[in-house]
């Protein structure tokens, strides 16, 4: 279902559902993913990883591995050049080159179990594995900290000894707290004092993984002339270029990253783990191409989980149902190195409401677990869980209608976010009204079978979305086909959603555009596919390039028609002037006398994007004897701005919801006392399967984004945020208990309800 607010609706291409250009290759298995890459003379790399969560490396003996037949190179951190603490952007993560270099291969200490300690390259995969197993590492095992309380305790073992924490502007050495920051406005004390009810709660969350099906991989050639060629599944080839070059100390332009298809990323494939290792192995192996592929255990143990942590949340309201003030401490696990999503969480946490006063304090805390990475709306799901749980409790305590209360306090155009940003036109109120009027909200829960109980939850959330740099080239062919190069890795059908925007301008079918994603030498800079930016920003580049193409064609046509280009109109794919007219695709074959091929290119850099809001309703059933939860009905309402390709926009929403439900119900890093992740396989890391999910219904609201010609807002991230609280409030409805710790797995429900 799609509801539109004051948007143009008479599009020819935008808003339709053409088949994606890459679809056939993907369903037939022809598409080349990173793991499929093979090149002549390929050799294999392998790594050894730390068995300890926290240890000092006393010595590494690589002699037995080096002596093995078929081994070309052995690598330790000593082979990496010394780099400074330069920070570069990588989508929704900031990469500190020095620390990330230590993260992908440990220097003097290992910070988490699975931390890479050394690597080898050998003639084949088995030889590489066997050689790696012959590397002897002597460790001095150190006490480990696996949660924020332990990490912040006095006399806690210090994980990164060189770290100087920034605690509200003060330099603090000898700490696991990398950063404490605060956003504050209004008079908090006075506002709380005016409240009729103040509720304060503490929430705990575990780390969770993005769970992309394709493991990380990289194939790299470091040739004799110093040119480096990379194939690696990634959300952003230019990010791989910058991070790889930065960590191995070469200029970015010596590194060429080829685009390969990607089997899921969800934010976790913006950071680089393998390419710099493969590059150095290649150089040490005489320029042979080296390939590295992780297994699932390594993906879990050493790549991008989303942070767990603690959230303290205090909210006040008046008897009349107005919010007064909110105060929160967001204490996030960054993992083995600084840099969690707490900054983004701080932007999102209070963004659904219009507060007279608020204070947000963020903590970025190191723990002996893998360095966290971006995961779909990084930080917002955790924040939404906490604030929406407290709002739900307030509504029940005060007898407020859960939607009306949110409408009465909703953020809208002009409202300031907790960190000061003022909203342009946003669609939260429209989402809430659509939820209120939905069939789902107005249908009774229905009776549960014997021994089971049902509940319904509702929650909202916000994600700011991203803008940033994107490039698109268009090349008109004689037969009217338009070749398109664009720089965005295609994770969710963006080839087609970008092509559709050019097609709309040109007045031709999306199928007549043939999109390609070239290597980094062959397209202008384009940021990572992340921050829900791609259909918005790269789409804007395509839109702009298409207009440039039309302008150029007008000039050419002016020549043919012996008129001025300013007198030529262009609409619905047809040029006309003084009673003459010609379709763009017909004109394409007549351009030779006018100066030959017509191409255009556009690079854009929108500094902001249109924010996304969502309101979700969840019905579920709990087996009271076993604690098992089954979601039975789910409706996701979301402001999508403009659904360029409604089916794919809906697919993004449904996918996000499923991941959010998994986060609420079963997903967690189960950490044992020695700091190891016990459930490091898909069998025991319990993501939902298709059999666990009902149909996820969507209601797409189109409140056009004023920053985009078609009103496009990013859609891919915000849907993962509301499910955490919507699900947990529904479990509350079914069991009568409140849950402050995720996941609300069956054992927790039994613990809460036993004795009833």
């Amino acid at each position: 279902m799609v509801a539109t607010y004051d948007a143009k609706t008479d599009y020819k291409v935008v808003g339709t559902n053409p088949i994606r250009h890459d679809g056939l290759d993907k369903v037939t298995g022809r598409a080349i993913y990173g793991g499929d890459v093979t090149v002549p003379g390929l050799i294999w790399g392998d790594v050894i990883r730390s068995p300890h969560a926290h240890a000092r490396i006393k010595s590494i003996d690589t002699s037995a591995a080096e002596a093995m037949d078929g081994v070309y190179a052995v690598l330790t951190h000593a082979d990496f050049p010394v780099v400074d603490e330069r920070e570069i952007e990588a989508g929704e993560d900031i990469v500190n080159l020095k620390r990330d270099q230590s993260n992908i291969m440990a220097d003097d200490k290992v910070h988490y179990k699975g931390h890479v300690v050394a690597a080898v390259a050998a003639v084949d995969r088995n030889t590489a594995q066997e050689a790696a197993s012959k590397i002897r590492v002597e460790y001095e095992v150190l006490a480990n900290v696996s949660d924020v309380d332990a990490a912040m305790a006095e006399n806690a073992p210090i994980i990164l000894e060189s770290l100087v924490g920034d605690h509200l502007g003060e330099d603090v050495p000898n700490t696991n707290i990398a950063r404490i920051f605060r956003h504050e406005f209004g008079n908090l004390e006075q506002a709380f004092a005016k409240s009729d009810l103040v509720i304060e709660r503490t929430f705990s969350l575990s780390m969770v993984h993005q769970g992309y099906i394709e493991p990380h991989n990289a194939t790299v050639i470091w040739a004799e002339d110093g040119n480096i060629t990379v194939w690696s599944s990634t959300q952003g080839s230019f990010g791989v270029r910058a991070q790889t070059a930065g960590m191995i100390g070469v200029p970015e332009t010596r590194v060429k990253v080829n685009y390969v298809e990607i089997g899921g990323g969800f934010g976790g494939k913006t950071k680089v783990y393998l390419a710099p290792i493969a590059a150095l192995l290649s150089r040490k192996s005489g320029g042979r191409p080296v390939k590295l592929v992780m297994d699932r255990t390594s993906v879990f143990e050493a790549t991008g989980p989303a942070p767990g942590g603690k959230i303290r949340m205090k909210v006040g309201v008046t008897r009349e149902g107005k919010v007064t003030a909110a105060d929160t401490d967001l204490i996030f696990e960054s993992g083995g190195y600084p840099g969690s999503a707490v900054g983004a969480a701080a932007m999102c946490v209070f963004a659904c409401y219009n507060w007279p006063a608020s204070r947000i304090t963020g903590y970025d805390v190191l723990v002996n677990k893998p360095k966290s990475a971006a995961y779909r709306a990084p930080g917002s799901p955790q924040a939404s869980f906490a604030i929406e749980s407290v709002v739900d409790e307030i509504c029940e305590e005060m007898g407020f209608d859960k939607i009306q209360f949110r409408l009465d306090n909703a953020a809208h155009e002009g409202t300031r976010r907790g960190d000061g940003v003022q909203f342009p036109r946003v669609g939260l109120e429209e989402c809430l009204r659509a939820a209120r009027d939905s069939d789902h909200w107005n249908s009774p829960l229905g009776d549960a079978p014997a021994g089971k109980a049902r509940g319904r939850g509702i929650a909202t959330a916000y994600w700011m979305n991203g803008g940033g740099k994107s490039t698109c080239d268009l090349m008109l062919q004689d037969d009217g086909t338009v070749m398109m190069n664009e720089g965005s890795a295609d994770i969710g059908g963006t080839r087609v959603s970008i092509a559709m925007q050019a097609a709309e301008v040109l007045g031709i079918p999306a199928e007549d555009i043939r999109p390609s994603i070239p290597d980094t030498d062959s397209i202008g800079f384009t940021g990572v596919t992340g921050g829900s930016r791609t259909t918005y920003a790269t789409g804007l580049a395509a839109y702009t390039a298409a207009h440039l193409l039309v302008d150029e064609l007008k000039d050419r046509l002016a020549n043919l028609w012996e008129t001025e280009s300013g007198k030529i109109d262009f609409a619905d794919g047809v040029f006309s002037s003084d009673g003459q007219s010609i379709g763009i695709q017909e004109l394409a074959g007549k351009l030779d006398p006018t100066g030959g091929p017509v191409t255009s290119t556009a690079s854009v850099n929108p500094s902001s994007a249109g924010a996304a809001y969502a309101a979700h309703i969840c019905d579920l059933e709990v087996d009271l004897a076993t604690g098992k939860t089954d979601v039975i009905r789910y409706t996701a309402v979301q402001d999508v701005g403009k659904a360029v390709h409604p089916q794919y926009a809906e697919g993004q929403i449904q996918g996000g919801v499923v991941q959010g439900i998994g986060w609420a119900l079963n997903e967690e890093y189960f950490i044992t006392d020695d700091g190891a992740m016990a459930n490091r396989s898909f069998l025991d890391y319990r993501m939902p399967t298709s059999l666990d999910m009902p149909m996820i219904d969507t209601i797409m609201i189109e409140v056009p984004n004023p920053l985009h010609p078609y009103g496009v807002r990013g859609v891919g991230e915000v849907p993962i945020c509301p499910p955490l609280s919507a699900v947990v409030q529904a479990i509350h409805g079914a069991t009568g208990k409140r849950y402050y710790e995720l996941p609300v797995k069956p054992g927790r429900i039994l613990e809460a309800t036993n004795g009833d």
């Binding site: 399967t689 059999l691 613990e751």
Partner: protein
């Protein structure tokens, strides 16, 4: 992964000879759904993998008046798709059709499930409540072991050097017999049992009293547990909530679970009690036809 030889014998004798030669550096390969995973994870290092799927006796299912016999290498789908098995031994189907998904079931053998000796194995408790016997061939000849005595610890069995599981057989159930298995998992499929319970029982001709019962528990001890006291408690009792609750409580007592990533001690005990009650009721339903 360490390189190994792949051997595909066509007789039990050949297989036993290879296994005997290599000792614990060789392993039989049924569906490989445990063996390949463990080999790749370097749980062990093998010199030889002995594929048993070319040995006819290990690949046949026979259903007749003496009962059911299942070759050790028969994949799960051939068991649960066999209409005679489905009609006479639905509890065996309960176990085999939840092991993994379709892909796993088309390779994984019930014999592999038993020899892998996981406390959580879904196929083993159904065999135990059917009083199944494991038929073993070895260098010293053949022997039989009751399935409840087959596993001796996690990944440990009674099999000695050179021994091979040939088949599992169980008697034809008497009249008024019913059996059922279920497990608890937080998801609906593709998960490892947090706790599992199989129940078989025989009712008297009136269908109102228990004559005998066997109850077996998965995932709540180092090996699948035959909860003898719980089963025996039903013998001679009337079919009512009270006797069922009493047996379920005894099953709970028989469980000796640990707390791990899949569940806690308390949760598992509670699950055993709940599932035992549910499976007794389901077995009664089946017994009454």
């Amino acid at each position: 992964m360490h390189p190994f030889a792949y051997v595909a014998p066509v007789t039990v004798e050949e297989a036993v000879a290879v296994l005997d030669k290599h000792g614990d550096r060789a392993r039989p390969l049924a569906g490989g759904t445990d063996l390949l995973v463990k080999t790749r994870a370097n749980v062990w290092e093998l010199d030889a993998v002995v594929d048993i799927k070319n040995i006819p006796e290990l690949m046949t299912v026979t259903v007749g008046n003496d009962g059911l016999s299942i070759g050790a290498g028969v994949p799960c789908y051939q068991i649960y798709e066999n209409s005679e098995v489905a009609a006479g031994y639905p509890c065996i189907v309960d176990g085999t059709d939840i092991i993994g998904g379709i892909q796993i079931q088309s390779r994984a053998a019930l014999g592999g499930n038993l020899c892998n000796a996981a406390p959580s194995a879904d196929g083993v408790c159904p065999l135990i409540v059917h009083s199944a016997v494991a038929h073993i061939a070895g260098p010293g000849g053949n022997r039989e072991v009751a399935v409840e005595d087959f596993c001796t610890g996690p990944s440990q069995t009674v099999l000695k050097k050179g021994e091979l599981l040939v088949s599992m057989s169980m008697p034809k159930p008497p009249a008024n017999f019913g059996a059922a298995y279920t497990r608890f998992i937080p998801r609906n499929e593709m998960d490892i049992a947090v706790a599992g319970v199989a129940v078989s029982l025989v009712l008297d001709p009136s269908g109102q009293n228990f004559e005998s019962a066997r109850i077996a528990l998965a995932s709540v001890g180092p090996v699948p547990i035959l909860a003898t006291a719980a089963g025996d408690s039903l013998a001679g009792k009337p079919v009512n909530d009270e006797s069922i609750a009493a047996a379920a409580a005894l099953a709970r007592d028989a469980a000796s679970p640990i707390t791990d990533m899949r569940g806690t001690i308390e949760q598992r005990r509670q699950l055993i009690e709940v599932l035992t009650g549910r499976m007794i009721n389901k077995a009664i339903e089946r017994a009454r036809g």
